[in-house]
Symmetry: C2
Subunit: 250 residues, 2 copies
C-alpha cells in the first residue's frame, strides 16, 4: 500500500425537495465519479433541509473533517434559497453583493433585472466565483467549501470549472468480477482476500438473475498490481470450487 | 397552523458503494414517502462509509436529534457488513447472537449453515427483531433506531413491518401548480404566499420544456384548507399577470 495521503470530500445536498422524496438526487453518483478521477474520495454525504441552522452546522462540521466540501442546491432566486446566506454565517462573513457576480447578472438580465434575480449575486464577502456557463448566476468558493447549483446540468458545468483546481491523491481503481455463488458463500474468501492485500477494499453486491444467485465482487485500490493479485486469488478460489466467474459486471 | 408537534426521522445510508458512485440509492425517496404517510417527516439523511467510527458517530448524533432513525445497508454476511456491530457500540451493548434470529437462520439454512451466514444473527444484545419475509435474515430495532437491509426489495418489506409501530403527527399534504413563468419572476409572489399562510411551505422547481421556462410550485402543509388558500392566491396572481397556470405537475 502506497503511503499516499487519502484526499477526501464531503457532499452536502441542500433541499427539502430531496428529503420529501419528490426529487431524486442524481448529483451524488456523478460528483463521486468525477472527484475520483482527480484522486479525491467522496467520504461522506449529508442531505439537509432548507433551514439555516442545519446548513451552518453541516458546513462547519464537514469543512473541518474533509479536504473539500461541495454543496448542491439552494442558490436560486427564491425565498427558500438560503445556501449563500448560511455559508456566510458558517464562516462569520457578511452576506453581501459580489461585485463581479452583480455585474454579470445585470449585464445578462438588462431591463429584466429584479430584486429576486439580484439575490443570486449575494455571497459571503470575499468569495471566489465559480463559473456558470449554462445560466450565468455563478456558484462560489469560500476556503475549502464549493457552493454549486442543484440543477444537474448547471452543477456539472460548475464542476468542470472547479475540478482543475482540486488537488487529489491517487485515484481509486476498480476491477469487478461476477461470480455465480450467493454472497454468503463468498463471505469467508472475500474477507481473506481483503486481509491478504493491504490497501485494497473488497465490496460485494448480491443479485438474483434468472433464479440464479450471484455476487458482483468489486476490488478497489490505488495500485493496479495489488488489485490484479486480489482478483487472481478470487478467480483461483472460484476455479477450485467450480464457481463460474466472469470478468466485469454481468 | 395546528399546534401539532412535528415528528422527524433521520435516514443513515451505510455503504461505500453509494459513496463511490457505483450504486445509486433508491431507498431515500421510497422511505420519505412511506414515512410521510404516517406523519413522520424525513428531516435529515447521511451517507456514511463502512467505517465503524463513522457509523457510531452518525447513530449517536442522529438518535438524539430525531424521533426515529432508520439505517439501510451493511447487515449482510460479509466482512464489510459492520452495521450491527457499530450500532451495538453506539449503544454500549454487546454484539452477540440473537436467539430468535439464530433459530430462524438455522432453520432456513439447515445443513447449509456457515459462520458467515450466522453473522447475520449477531445483533446488539436485547434488540427487537424486524421481520424479513424476503430472505429471512432479520433487521432489528434498538430504542428509536431501526436497522434495515439495503437491498430495496428487502428494505421495503422490513419497512412494512415497522410502519405500524411508528407514531407520527399530521401527514404533510401537497398541491402542485405548474406555472409557465421563470422561477426568478415568481420568486417575490412565492415568498409572499408563504409569509401570508403560516404553516405552509412553498417549494419551486424550475424547468425548461420546448424552450419555455416554467416553474412547478409545490405547496406543502398539514392543513388542506390553508394549502388551498395558498394555491388560490397563486392562481389569482397568475391570472392577473397573464401567466398560464395548470393544476398538477405537467
Amino acid at each position: 500500500m502506497a503511503e499516499t495521503r487519502i484526499v477526501t470530500a464531503c457532499l452536502i445536498i441542500i433541499g427539502n425537495e430531496i428529503l420529501s422524496g419528490r426529487t431524486v438526487d442524481a448529483n451524488l453518483p456523478y460528483i463521486a465519479t468525477r472527484l475520483n478521477e482527480k484522486g479525491v474520495r467522496l467520504a461522506e454525504a449529508r442531505i439537509v433541509p432548507d433551514i439555516e441552522a442545519e446548513i451552518v452546522d453541516a458546513v462547519t462540521v464537514c469543512r473541518a473533517r474533509h479536504d473539500y466540501v461541495l454543496t448542491t442546491g439552494g442558490i436560486g432566486p427564491t425565498h427558500d434559497d438560503i445556501t449563500a446566506a448560511s455559508v456566510a454565517k458558517a464562516f462569520g462573513l457578511a452576506h453581501t453583493y459580489h461585485p463581479e457576480a452583480k455585474r454579470l447578472l445585470e449585464s445578462f438580465y438588462g431591463e429584466r433585472v429584479t430584486e429576486a434575480r439580484m439575490r443570486m449575486a449575494m455571497m459571503p464577502e470575499g468569495a471566489a466565483l465559480v463559473a456558470n456557463p449554462v445560466s450565468v448566476a455563478p456558484g462560489f468558493r469560500v476556503e475549502n467549501v464549493y457552493v454549486l447549483a442543484g440543477v444537474p446540468k448547471i452543477m456539472q458545468a460548475m464542476l468542470d470549472d472547479i475540478l482543475p483546481e482540486l488537488v487529489g491523491g491517487a485515484p481509486v481503481l476498480a476491477r469487478t468480477v461476477t461470480v455465480y455463488a450467493p454472497e454468503s458463500e463468498m463471505a469467508a474468501v472475500l474477507g481473506r482476500i481483503e486481509a491478504d492485500h493491504p490497501g485494497i477494499e473488497v465490496g460485494s453486491y448480491p443479485f438474483f438473475r434468472m433464479e440464479k444467485p450471484g455476487t458482483a465482487v468489486v476490488v478497489r485500490g490505488t495500485e493496479q498490481a495489488v488489485i490484479d493479485a486480489a482478483v487472481a486469488q478470487l478467480r483461483q478460489h472460484a476455479a477450485q470450487h467450480g464457481i463460474e466467474a466472469i470478468d466485469g459486471q454481468v
